[in-house]
Symmetry: D2
Subunit: 153 residues, 4 copies
């Protein structure tokens, strides 16, 4: 299993704003793409592994720090890591790199495991033991953020 | 019941592209907003009237002609009209007007009535007679497009 | 001048995802809409006040905490407040309320004042003294965030 | 030079709507991605070839016919072809294919060459003779649409 899963994307014209740079919510969308790749690469495709088990990943919190602007047609690389995992929630963190390998943004998303039927937060181990088993095996990165210990304090 | 339903919107920064004008797919999104208003104003809120009856409106075709660019923070007006209606499909057309009342774009969408369970096109009168009854009462505009016969001719 | 500027929006179909709820990056887009309203209501329309003075507001950081899901056609209210202001940057915070007045999300954005020509962060007082003068008069809210001690407590 | 340029994409979660299928304006966004690839692959990268020459491609018309729904994580292929070319405008057409090679949608966009300074339509041969020269060499497909002569009449 992979601790880091990397997604390569090309910045779309429609993701940029009148300032000529990527509109900042687009990064949050890229995090979703990267998150689904991370899960799929690690044997847990979202629709099959979570939805089929009656689990929705509900976003609790999103953070993104922007360091360098990106433009249309730039080729970027988004790294995703599992930053936190409990029986009720998980967090991933992401780093976005530009064409020359420079860090352009870093972010983090936190998710609750929600029971699709009751629409309530649930304990994944109890609700879907097999899925939890596989989740529990995923390699965990420390949660200092891509921009290092100094940033999140 | 209203033959024309008008939706007022304000162009968002994120709907504009690096050329400083509205990114053209945004108009298609506005058509959706205007369509849902049209249905709701005419007593057929999409979720309650269609979804609850097991019907999805699947888009078959979209057309949009662009005449004048729009920019962030522009106040616009989108008019929606029912252009066509049969037991298996319907079409709406739309006109987008700028702050000074000038026509900025005109479009049309065509939709099939699809049975949510079978995932197949269906006859609305047979599948949901009450809904069809109300659909049948909706005032119909002629389908020449907002810009009239002189434009395409 | 207004310490709080409220923007009313209606959730769009296209802002929702296959889970039937608002796709989380949409909130960040709403923050932009609310921020531009906040500035305009306080006499500082973005294009005229900032762009015309050669200043771009570059986003440095975005945070959003999600508390309650929202759905298509929900009417929401987004409150924006100025949370921080120095000669080189500013921060706003936002609260998103649902139809029954319940807090659905709370967030914060931080922005640098960037010189459009040099493309570098700048001191607003030096670069655009008139604009700074008006910025300096904007009422400032404390920056505990909507989920700060008084609110979630 | 390539008559057909193919772009491979993966459907994003955020491109899908509460019906669980791709929200229809997303296809129009894909057409933009495919168009920029088409131009770049043929030696005419949009920013360098057009913008640098003071030319903006303004969209005049968009059409899309939807034949088969697509879902999150589907791998798709978008083909772009030059369908029409004069000194003042050009049109491209697009075909979107699903994982099994089935045609899912077909569309067309029409664009005017607009002078960035005057903001008016212009004659490309006069305004940017070198660019026109290269445009004139691009292989042209017939403009019957991907779904054949019977559909457009």
């Amino acid at each position: 299993m992979a601790e880091v899963v990397t997604t390569q994307l090309e910045v779309r014209w429609g993701e940029c704003d009148p300032a000529g740079i990527v509109y900042h919510p687009a990064y949050i969308d890229w995090f979703s793409v990267a998150r689904m790749h991370f899960l799929r690469e690690n044997g847990l495709p979202y629709m099959e592994a979570f939805h089929a088990a009656g689990i929705v990943l509900v976003v609790l919190e999103v953070t993104c720090k922007y360091r360098k602007v990106l433009k249309a047609e730039d080729t970027i690389r988004v790294e995703a890591r599992l930053a936190e995992r409990t029986r009720t929630r998980m967090a991933l963190r992401y780093a976005v790199f530009g064409q020359d390998g420079e860090l352009c943004a870093a972010g983090r998303t936190e998710h609750a495991f929600v029971d699709m039927n009751s629409n309530r937060a649930c304990n994944l181990e109890r609700k879907a033991p097999d899925l939890w088993q596989r989740m529990a095996e995923l390699p965990l990165s420390d949660d200092r953020g891509a921009d290092g210990p100094g940033r999140r304090g």
